[in-house]
């Protein structure tokens, strides 16, 4: 019963989008970020956190800060967690998904570590791009310098985890330093640049991708814990059935397609 009330609570937040949708849907067929956000009008709207008034749209009276944050950030969050999930839709970060998802606690630890690294590196890479590479016209160093920053963040995280929980450190094993080469981390940093996100959007995008990664990790770990007790045919036991399951999950996430 408590579960239900939680869902209802969450629902009330989600329903707030209903008010947003009326003018967004007809033009784009779904949730959409207002385009042309470099215009003065949009700057203003971001500052005031109100949508530009459109005469052709019936007024709904819904405030446009349903969860206390500007709608576009929420949209980025939803987009990155579900619709354009970094793992199941963009197929980045499959290595830890396969490697560290055999039990829930390790998957949770990995999710936290990755969330930390992803968010931090999204921030750091944006700063490096816009404060260092662009002013000095050395954008060709982008990948190299991003990797450097990511590696440093991971190193930092590893020290942190080792100090905080030796057992978690042990169970994450090689996958912790391998976050460095987790394509999701570099991918998000680069996507932030190509999608011309500003600093706060980059941060939300990084965090949202990490949440998406964590959702899939935890979900997948739950499935694998159940799989561990199943009598999977020998031919498919282990990695094959996990990959099949990941494939099915990816199929399922296609259901969210077209929302944003």
């Amino acid at each position: 019963m408590e579960g239900l009330s939680d869902v209802l609570h969450g629902l009330s937040g989600c329903l707030a989008f209903v008010g947003y949708a009326p003018w967004a849907l007809p033009q784009s067929g779904g949730f959409c970020r207002p385009r042309g956000r470099k215009t003065a009008q949009n700057r203003w709207h971001r500052k005031c956190n109100f949508a530009p008034q459109r005469p052709d749209v019936p007024a709904t009276g819904w405030p446009l800060r349903p969860l206390g944050v500007p709608v576009e950030y929420v949209l980025i969050l939803i987009s990155t967690t579900l619709v354009n999930n970094i793992v199941l839709v963009k197929f980045l970060g499959l290595c830890p998904l396969m490697g560290v998802s055999s039990n829930l606690s390790a998957a949770w630890g990995m999710s936290l570590a990755t969330t930390f690294v992803l968010t931090l590196s999204a921030l750091a890479s944006w700063l490096i791009e816009h404060w260092l590479l662009v002013p000095l016209h050395i954008e060709f160093l982008r990948i190299l310098s991003f990797i450097l920053v990511i590696a440093a963040t991971v190193q930092f995280t590893e020290g942190l985890v080792r100090k905080a929980s030796p057992a978690l450190h042990k169970s994450l094993g090689i996958y912790l330093p391998l976050i460095t080469t987790n394509c999701a981390v570099l991918g998000v940093a680069l996507l932030n640049i190509t999608q011309e996100h500003n600093l706060s959007e980059s941060l939300v995008y990084g965090f949202g991708s990490a949440v998406g990664f964590s959702v899939v990790m935890v979900m997948f770990a739950g499935l694998r814990e159940r799989l561990a007790l199943a009598t999977v045919p020998a031919l498919f036991s282990g990695a094959p059935i996990s990959l099949v399951t990941a494939g099915v999950l990816s199929l399922v996430f296609m259901g969210f397609g077209g929302m944003i």
Partner: protein, 374 residues
């Protein structure tokens, strides 16, 4: 020593049983499905009957093959689970879909969705819905072509031979009919869910459009364009309620799924009736009813505890509403159910019934808790 040989293998207690069995459960589910399916078969004529039979045969054949490969006794076929998977899958298909959609889809569902995971009871996802999603994504055209109801024996209904051509040779019966001198209106069209989506996209006021065009009574009774076995909300409701009464399924998932869907639809249409159809439309179209009573309630892939079931159903309802309202697919039952299937292990792990003598969190009940009621 006067030792005796027990006729039966040594087992711990209990040495009594209530005579329930898996095959009896599956039989009851099939029985509950049959009114709606029979009506669908009547409504869409011979092609639907052929598609239905082909799908069921393919299901049984696939199951037999998999059991054989797994080295399991073929008696397992008698548990009826494959038949039920085939039945549910066929019920969600457009009634005149080509035979390979039915046979191939159910084979995919049973092999990938069930037997790769070790067979009955061990699958993580609902095989019928997995089949449907895979086929929907791979063959969107075939899966979104709906015929108008043409009851057996009616003037326009194709005969058996025509039906064979439609299902096996992909004959364009509609074109054939409209070329006929009598002249017939469009035979096929979008499903009502698809139509509503198109209407929204075109900027039509959905509320007015539905009020003018949508035949609510027909949708409830089932005389409407739609999938083979899910047009009649009434008959599905009857079958589902009987299943609850027969204690085959519990009320939790259907109630919370339909409740959540209705709640979302009501709130949305209340605040914005131009864009969102109301709960009656949501409940009577598509696979909402079938999904709530027969698909989401699949034992293997839904949670075990009552609270878990409520949560699972509510999740299905919410996702269904979300996908129907904003997704690019007009219908979302399969996606919603599969997504919640994926969450089921987590729900089962974290939401357990309260044990006797313990709090919900698993701690020992305190003396003070007791005194309250003394």
């Amino acid at each position: 020593m006067n030792s005796i040989t027990h006729e039966l293998p040594l087992r711990a207690a209990p040495h009594a049983h209530d005579r329930s069995s898996v095959d009896r459960i599956m039989l009851k589910v099939c029985l509950a499905l049959s009114p709606a399916t029979a009506y669908g078969l009547y409504l869409f004529g011979w092609p639907a009957i052929i598609l239905f039979v082909v799908t069921l045969l393919a299901a049984v054949a696939t199951e037999a093959l998999c059991l054989r490969l797994a080295g399991l006794p073929l008696q397992r076929l008698l548990d009826g689970s494959a038949l039920l998977t085939g039945w549910l899958y066929a019920a969600t298909l457009p009634p005149w879909a080509p035979w390979w959609i039915g046979a191939g889809g159910v084979a995919f569902g049973l092999i990938v969705g069930k037997h790769l995971y070790g067979g009955i009871g061990q699958n993580l996802f609902n095989p019928a819905m997995l089949a449907r999603v895979a086929v929907l994504i791979s063959f969107p055209v075939q899966l979104t072509t709906w015929v108008n109801p043409m009851p057996l024996g009616s003037e326009l209904a194709p005969g058996f031979v025509d039906a064979l051509a439609i299902i096996f040779a992909n004959a364009d019966y509609a074109a054939h009919l409209s070329a006929a001198p009598s002249g017939v209106d469009a035979m096929t069209g979008a499903s009502w869910l698809g139509a509503s989506k198109v209407a929204v996209g075109a900027g039509t006021d959905v509320g007015q459009w539905l009020a003018a065009d949508f035949p609510l009574t027909a949708a409830f009774s089932g005389h409407i364009r739609g999938s083979l076995g899910e047009t009649s909300a009434l008959l599905i409701l009857v079958g589902g309620l009987w299943l609850i009464w027969a204690r085959v399924i519990s009320w939790h998932i259907p109630a919370s799924m339909l409740g959540m869907l209705s709640l979302c639809a009501w709130l949305a249409s209340h605040f914005n009736g131009h864009l969102f159809p109301g709960p009656l439309f949501q409940l009577t179209t598509g696979a909402a009813m079938l999904g709530a009573f027969f698909i989401a309630t699949d034992y293997v892939t839904s949670p075990a505890s009552a609270t878990g079931k409520l949560l699972f159903g509510a999740g299905c309802g919410l996702l269904l509403f979300t996908i129907r309202s904003w997704g690019s697919f007009p219908e979302g039952v399969a996606f919603a159910v599969l997504f919640m299937n994926a969450l089921t292990p987590l729900i089962d792990r974290f939401i357990k019934p309260r044990a006797y003598g313990r709090t919900l969190g698993g701690k020992t009940l305190k003396h003070s808790d007791m005194r309250k009621i003394v």
